[in-house]
Amino acid sequence: MPKLEIRNVERRFLGQDQQVNALDKVSFDVEAGEFLVLVGPSGCGKSTLLNIIAGLEKADFGEVLIDGKPVTKPGPDRALVFQDGALFPWLNVRKNVEFGLRQKGVPKGQASERAMYFLDQVGLAKFAENDLYTLSGGMKQRVAIARVLALEPEVLLMDEPFSALDAITREDLYAEVQHLWQGRGATIVFVTHNVREAVTLGDRVLLMASDPGRVQWELPLNILRPRHIDDVDVARVARQLAQAMRRGRETYTKEGWSHDEFEEIDILRDLDSALGDRSG
């Protein structure tokens, strides 16, 4: 059974003069231990979809199942890392990481111990007693990741967590996230608009399109890990993905992809499996 099942999820917003289909019958599965990336332009509903999976928003139609059980409200089994980190400035670094554990009723000493363990995992153990304002943007996002890892969620949701960071910091975090993910075997759903980032991180990439928000196609990636954003394979696949994305925006019709587009995807698949063979 898949870890996460998204079944015919629809979401509509009331626009200025008509209903906007933020999400139109979106369905896909996420396997346990998979690193899935949702990539798409702004307005394709990828963040809305993540909020629905988190239980923060309700779908107008369809449902989300985790281990076969429908999601009805937010909970620590689907912890979310926000773009702005959403750390609490009234708590110091350690207490931010302890927060979720304390909500679960974990005793203070034990929560503190676990917080320190996860802070150590993201390389921030010696900043445990610091106030947040003393940290850089990258360090804050590491705290946000530690805070969520400490809850040991079934599924880790990440909403453009690195988009506000500078390039160097971002690259460090790509390596760290891959390392943490491989070490813990977590299931991750990661949202981004950055194609390079998607190819660097994902086991599988779902390309989303807007108006109506939908999954356009999926691309499994077997590129050897750990990947770096400047790896030749990553760059090549990312470029083709970006091209397909651009072309898709022009040629996609209600009926589906044109024949040319299918060829394009086949080429990508071939390329991908060739890369996979070499790495495996």
């Binding site: 239980g55 937010p74 909970g75 912890a79 926000f82 959403a86 927060f99 304002y133 969520v148």
Partner: protein
């Protein structure tokens, strides 16, 4: 400090030259003398004690009701549409306008003055807190919900600590209003306290007493502003990483 020394020196010179009638414009020495005498016979300390007790009690009630009210106003559309408009209406009412009502309800006593103090400060505290909570990043609440905080505990676990800076702003504002409301109340009906001491100075045409009491009121204001709120603000601003830390 030097600024105040120059100010007092100027005052002394003007008073010495007898530009105005010394009855109406006493010298700093005369005021200091009256201040000393009032201090010695205990009337000043007594009045200050009574006024402070009243303002602290009324202000405490305002904080205890105003802060939760502000948070609820910011969170509930229904409460905002109903109670919120009432709160805005009350805000346009100067606190002293409550005095006739308070006098009829409670009579000439401490309860009436307490009522005026609460009426003067509660609403401004609630509105400042409401504004602050409304401007919080929505991700705070979302983050807490995804980390397993039940919705009813969001208030104490997230909204209350997160809005500490705006609570402080509201508290400072509320303190000013409470203090003003108290002074107006004490001036208007005789019932001990600094306001009455001020009025007594007027009745005895003793300008030096009027000035001495005014200075005491200003010093009290300065102390609370600088020492109490100043240090709290510094602490919160530093922790929140706000400018000027």
């Amino acid at each position: 400090m030097i600024f105040f020394a120059i100010l007092i020196a100027l005052w002394a010179i003007v008073a010495d030259r007898r530009v105005w009638d010394p009855m109406l414009f006493p010298s700093p020495w005369k005021v200091a003398q009256t201040f000393g005498a009032d201090l010695a016979d205990g009337s000043l300390l007594n009045a200050t004690g009574i006024s402070l007790r009243r303002v602290l009690l009324g202000y405490g009630i305002s904080l205890a009701i105003g802060v939760p009210l502000g948070i609820v106003l910011a969170r509930s559309k229904m409460v905002e549409d109903t109670v919120g408009s009432l709160v805005s209406a009350f805000q346009s009412l100067p606190s002293i306008c409550w005095l006739p009502l308070a006098l009829l309800w409670f009579g000439l006593n401490d309860r009436a003055i307490l009522f005026v103090v609460v009426a003067g400060s509660l609403v401004s505290i609630a509105i400042a807190v409401q504004d602050g909570v409304k401007n919080l990043p929505s991700t705070y609440v979302k983050a807490a919900l995804t980390m397993g905080t039940p919705p009813w505990r969001i208030y104490t676990q997230v909204l209350l600590p997160a809005s500490l800076p705006s609570i402080l702003t509201g508290a400072k504002l509320g303190w000013g209003y409470a203090w003003r409301a108290l002074m107006s109340g004490e001036l208007l009906f005789v019932s001990l306290g600094l306001g009455q001491l001020l009025m007594q100075g007027r009745e005895l045409a003793d300008m030096s007493q009027v000035l001495a009491v005014m200075i005491v009121i200003m010093i009290l204001g300065l102390i609370t502003d600088r020492l109490v709120f100043g240090s709290l603000e510094r602490h919160v601003r530093r922790r929140w990483g706000l400018a000027g830390a």
